[in-house]
């Protein structure tokens, strides 16, 4: 104890040490190993050889899987936009009109996530199935052609991603909206601002940090998602996550798989770094707002 008192400066480092060590060992080290393996050449059976000349793993992966990268950005981007469009009014409603029920409503937004994420996505398969609860009766009524399908389309994949990440967008926006001092809005209205003007000039800008946080928390995982594409999509909707899964676990093609993963991670890290610069790193762990 006296040691600690004498070396006050060490205390934060000691507090941080175990957790940081764990992350170093099991987040950073694997990343480094994966970086290394992305420069391998060979196969599991023949063995691997490391060589910096194997940067071609990256260029080959980029050219071969470029459609998948683009598609992932597309789907994740559209899904993030959709999520934003759905979540913003929802968060607004809870923050400004929730009243006594704020916490309850918030809870009901999160509650579905106590069921398994897989089960929920599979549940959408059943709901949107060709002869399922929704389409079955409509088709039987003759309103739709029998060939019409929602499952196995890009629409279904995007819908799935949107659904799965809705709370991730709603919560940060809610937090930032809730922090807004309502007197600011009242003041604006006292100064003859219309409701929409007040929203546009006061509420919206103040909620932007939440929007940014929510967007990142949605876009980033969505980029790497493969479950929605696998369960709700078809071979033309495969995302880069499906490729990574296939390369790692089925093809056992570690060099290519690592290269692709790293390309994905690098791109995202750049985005996060830009975001961190824009907002300052303090914001990141103090609640994301």
């Amino acid at each position: 104890m006296r040691f600690l008192r004498q070396h006050r400066g060490l205390v934060p480092y000691l507090l941080l040490a175990p957790g940081i060590l764990w992350l170093l060992l099991f987040y950073v080290a694997p990343g480094i190993v994966m970086l290394g393996s992305s420069f391998w050449e060979g196969s599991l059976e023949r063995g691997y050889a490391f060589s910096l000349e194997n940067y071609t793993n990256y260029t080959n992966a980029l050219s071969r899987f470029q459609p998948h990268f683009v598609r992932s950005i597309e789907y994740a981007g559209i899904a993030t936009l959709l999520t934003l469009l759905i979540a913003y009014p929802l968060a607004y409603g809870i923050a400004f009109r929730g009243g006594r029920f704020k916490n309850l409503l918030l809870f009901m937004v999160i509650a579905p996530f106590f069921t398994s994420f897989l089960l929920r996505t599979i549940s959408w398969q059943i709901i949107l199935g060709d002869q399922g609860i929704v389409l079955g009766p409509i088709k039987e009524a003759g309103l739709l052609d029998n060939n019409f399908a929602i499952i196995s389309t890009p629409f279904a994949v995007i819908a799935g991603i949107t659904y799965n990440f809705l709370p991730f967008m709603t919560l940060p926006i809610y937090v930032s909206l809730e922090k807004i001092d309502i007197r600011l809005i009242e003041a604006a209205q006292d100064l003859y601002a219309s409701r929409s003007n007040a929203f546009r000039r006061i509420t919206l800008p103040l909620s932007l940090p939440g929007v940014f946080a929510g967007s990142l928390l949605t876009f980033i995982p969505a980029m790497g998602d493969f479950v929605n594409a696998e369960l709700l999509g078809n071979p033309q909707t495969t995302m880069i996550g499906n490729v990574i899964q296939n390369q790692f676990l089925t093809q056992n093609n570690y060099p290519t798989a690592s290269a692709i993963s790293f390309l994905l991670m690098a791109g995202i890290l750049i985005a996060v770094a830009v975001y961190a610069r824009l907002l300052g790193t303090e914001e990141l762990t103090s609640g994301g707002v």
Binding site: P12, L23, L105, V109, F114, S116, F117, T285, G287
Partner: protein, 284 residues
């Protein structure tokens, strides 16, 4: 004789009335619809847990039965996978909460060199797609020579779960630590308490809600995790999500719906309980 154009002021027009109605209730209606949308799959899961499918696929309503609820663990492997999931979640929650809370305290209370970098560093795992987290761990496990230090199984899973949980714990606890009344600690120490006593008698009880919230978050993240488990679990250890994934190829039996619904009900119940307890304590 011109028709009088000056009419007595009637009440607001229909359009205005609709406008005002919408204005007052639109958001609430929308919120209700949105919550319904969020709950829809859960409702379907719960309803189909009472289904009695003729064959293996549980997708159209056939008959009502309580059989699945009465004996949910009849399906081979289901009980084991739930058990593994629970143990895994418990273990990773305990360790991650401990490690994460320490980091959160360090970050929140102290100024030190590398603080900004640490902030950024803690955020990184949350910003990394799960697939990259799982894949890189897999690469690590596979690269360690023979005999492997990490044969894929429960241990590799536990390590992975702890790893991704730490960041979430830090963020959650830190959010609660903002505005922490440090003067209380100083007062305690002025009154002669050692730092150790101060921590356990003053600090810890105050941060307990935050730590509990973080633990709950870590637990639910771990129980539901699929992607990272898929990559680092190997084939001999099956968690509940892995079990579902495997069963989905043929058809999810209603017993799985039962477990899913049960987890939901238990979780909701626990939260409701904690809210009630808090309300009581605060005397509301």
């Amino acid at each position: 004789m011109a028709t009088a154009t000056v009419t007595a002021r009637r009440g607001p027009s229909v359009i205005a009335r609709i406008g005002r109605f919408l204005d007052r209730y639109l958001l609430l209606i929308y919120t209700g619809l949105a919550v319904l949308y969020l709950m829809l799959p859960v409702i379907v899961i719960a309803v189909f847990s009472f289904n009695d499918p003729a064959g293996r696929t549980n997708f159209t309503w056939q008959a009502f039965t309580l059989d699945s609820w009465l004996e949910p663990f009849k399906i081979a492997g289901l009980g084991d996978s739930v058990f593994v999931s629970l143990v895994l979640a418990l273990g990773s929650t305990l360790v991650a909460t401990a490690l994460g809370t320490l980091i959160a305290i360090g970050l929140a209370r102290y100024q030190f060199r590398g603080r900004a970098a640490t902030n950024f560093f803690i955020f990184l795992p949350m910003a990394t797609p799960e697939i990259v987290l799982g894949a890189s761990l897999l690469t690590l496990y596979v690269s360690i020579g023979s005999p492997p230090f990490f044969p894929l199984g429960f241990v590799t899973l536990l390590i992975a779960h702890i790893m991704f949980n730490i960041s979430y714990v830090v963020v959650t606890v830190r959010a609660r630590l903002a505005g922490f009344p440090i003067h209380l600690e100083e007062a305690a120490m002025d009154l002669g308490a050692t730092p150790w006593t101060t921590f356990w008698k003053v600090t810890f009880p105050l941060i307990l809600p935050g730590v509990t919230a973080a633990a709950l978050l870590a637990f639910s993240l771990s129980i539901d995790d699929f992607v990272i488990t898929y990559f680092t679990g190997g084939t001999t250890t099956q968690t509940f999500p892995m079990f579902i994934y495997a069963k989905n190829r043929i058809g999810i039996p209603p017993e799985v719906n039962v477990i899913g619904t049960a987890i939901f009900v238990v979780a909701v119940g626990l939260v409701a309980l904690s809210v009630l307890v808090q309300r009581r304590r605060l005397g509301r």
